[in-house]
């Protein structure tokens, strides 16, 4: 270790590093939720999916010895949760928000139950790529240790934005999300589209969970998620249902979360409870600033039960 004294520069550096480290679960869950909501359903159960994904990813990685098999298992588990949500919600008179809350509690309960034997063992970690080779400063090198899943998340963000904008699949998801009647008249089956979109969204949330348990902070226990899944669902609304905005919102939340510890580390130590509330204050501020009586929720999918 050869640390250089950075002074106050440590704060922006920590925020960049924190944004990269902490944002990945937010990114995956919000991309998944973005896809699901674009198809006209809300899956509030992604917090449960995230926790279950974290547990199953950790457990499978430990048993198999490969972190990537763990990620795959987390995606599969998340997809099952998504499919279950999609299947139940197609039944008549079922409220997707209520099912989501039930699935959130179920996912967490199942994860705690099956995860008990995996609190102690150490599973292999996901690899990271070092982008800090150009700098001699060890803090910069540490901050620029970028996990592969984060890079995959960036690719997914761009791909999903492109998919919604220009591809036929994107058009189908958007039509189903905006008007069930229009989709039916086009010969589409909205329930099937929503089932698939919820399943894919669940898989992404599961991967987000695997990032928590397999890379950062990198171990499974019952207090692993402090509501990241729920916050990510809110991020989608904040990001106005755009995948690219989801990415920026996830980075913002990751960076803001690193602000509190970083400020304390440079000696600005009083009022840390206030700094820890920074992400939420920021969200409120941005939502108020960007809202308007004329164009609020303009890009919201028309079939969402919260906007109808």
């Amino acid at each position: 270790m050869n640390e250089t004294d950075l002074g106050l520069w440590a704060v922006p550096l920590a925020m960049i590093g924190g944004a990269i480290r902490v944002s990945t679960p937010f990114l995956f869950v919000s991309l998944g939720e973005c896809l699901t909501e674009r198809s006209g359903r809300i899956n509030l159960g992604l917090e449960g999916t995230l926790v279950f994904g974290a547990m199953s990813g950790y457990a499978v990685a430990y048993e198999s010895g490969s972190a990537w098999i763990g990620v795959l298992a987390a995606a599969l588990a998340g997809m099952l949760f998504g499919f279950f949500h999609g299947w139940v919600c197609k039944l008549p008179k079922v409220n997707d928000i209520a099912i989501g809350i039930a699935l959130m509690l179920l996912g967490m309960g199942l994860a705690f139950f099956f995860g008990k034997p995996f609190v102690q063992p150490q599973a292999p970690d996901l690899p990271a790529i070092s982008f800090g080779w150009w700098s001699d400063i060890s803090q910069v090198q540490a901050a620029l240790q970028v996990n592969v899943l984060f890079l995959i998340g960036i690719v997914l963000t761009v791909a999903m934005g492109w998919m919604f904008r220009t591809t036929r699949i994107g058009l189908i998801v958007r039509v189903v999300g905006d008007s069930t009647d229009a989709a039916r008249s086009m010969g589409l089956n909205p329930n099937v589209v929503r089932l698939l979109a919820t399943g894919a969204g669940g898989a992404l949330a599961g991967v987000g969970g695997a990032y928590l348990s397999l890379y950062y902070p990198g171990s499974w226990n019952e207090g692993l998620s402090s509501g990241q899944g729920l916050m990510a669902v809110a991020l989608v609304i904040f990001a106005r249902w755009s995948p690219v905005n989801c990415f920026w919102a996830a980075l913002l939340f990751g960076g803001a979360g690193a602000l509190g510890p970083a400020l304390q580390s440079v000696g600005i130590s009083s009022g840390y409870y206030l700094f820890y509330a920074a992400p939420y204050v920021l969200t409120l501020g941005l939502l108020i600033a960007t809202s308007s009586p004329n164009r609020a929720l303009e890009s919201a999918p028309g079939e969402l039960s919260i906007t109808k």
Binding site: M1, V22, Q120, G223, G257, P261, S265
Partner: protein, 373 residues
Amino acid sequence: MNRRTISRRSLLKAGAATGALAAASALPFGAAHAADLTVGFIYVGPKDDFGYNQAHAEGAAAVKEMAGVTVVEEENVPETVAVQKSMESMINFDGASLMFPTSFGYFDPHILAVAPKHPDVRFQHAGGLWSADKHPKNAGSYFGYIGLGQYLNGITAGHATKSKKIGFVAAKPIPQVLMNINSFLLGARAVDPTITCQVIFTGEWSLAVKEAEATNALADQGCDVITCHVDGPKVVVETAAGRGAFVCGYHADQSPLAPAKYLTGAEWNWANVYTGMVKTMMSGGTIDNFVRGGLSDGFVKMSPLGPAVSDTARNQFEAAKAEIMKGGFLIIKGPINDNKGNVIAPAGKAFAEDDIALESMDYLVEGVIGSTS
């Protein structure tokens, strides 16, 4: 079948008869096992968290080995009215007559609400301040002077640090946490008085991501030995070792998590304390309402020294430990100021480890970088 034969009155009678039968059959059962003891343990988190709860659960496991003792346990019980329900259930359904609700926040108001309803049940609480004029006689408080464990941690840290900066990830600024931070620094300053200790408070007992962020922030500032006071030190230990820093453990032995970087650790020795209390209860004695002890009393122990501890460090560690084992070690010695410049103790005044004044500590000593609010 004629439905009229079952009237509401006869149904009630039948119900009462069944109840009486159940009560009658329960009585001899209770009497036959009068010499036995059922002990209830309640944890605020998972009991295998490499931390606070695991330390208590290891104590419970030792009690379970004793003849004639039944142990009932419940984990992940929040510090809310939920713990009152858990206690009532253990007392009423499992017949527990000795309770160990182990989390700090269980005492007031939860134990204070349940204890008066069950005068024949003994409630032992870790860390709470029991006082004879305010609190029920069947409740008691016990705790260990683990600050001296952090002092010994600090000695190994003082020898291991090259940057002369050591780090502490802390949950909340309560007296026991502040005592640990101050002791860690004072231990390190016994090696080199220029060492400083950076503290970061996370605000909660268990917040994995924030603990990892705090550890990274400390490493970014050049802290090359890191310890913590959070419920589950696993994340801090793994993250710190991943950044190349040495670690000192807390609560339980975390050396398997970072074998090369682990210097030593301050551990609870609840197995010794709990088996002693259960023996007292079973032999018909009463446990003191206010029990405290340190290294010399077997309340606290140290992890075996890791491979990175040098011989000079080992010698100073062993010498300090031998001094502490004599009891009455003076941990805060004047002249000493807090980190805002106020005098804590003038020259000639000192606080021993068992000084009750230390249990309401609200300052960080000079050399600690951080603030309590």
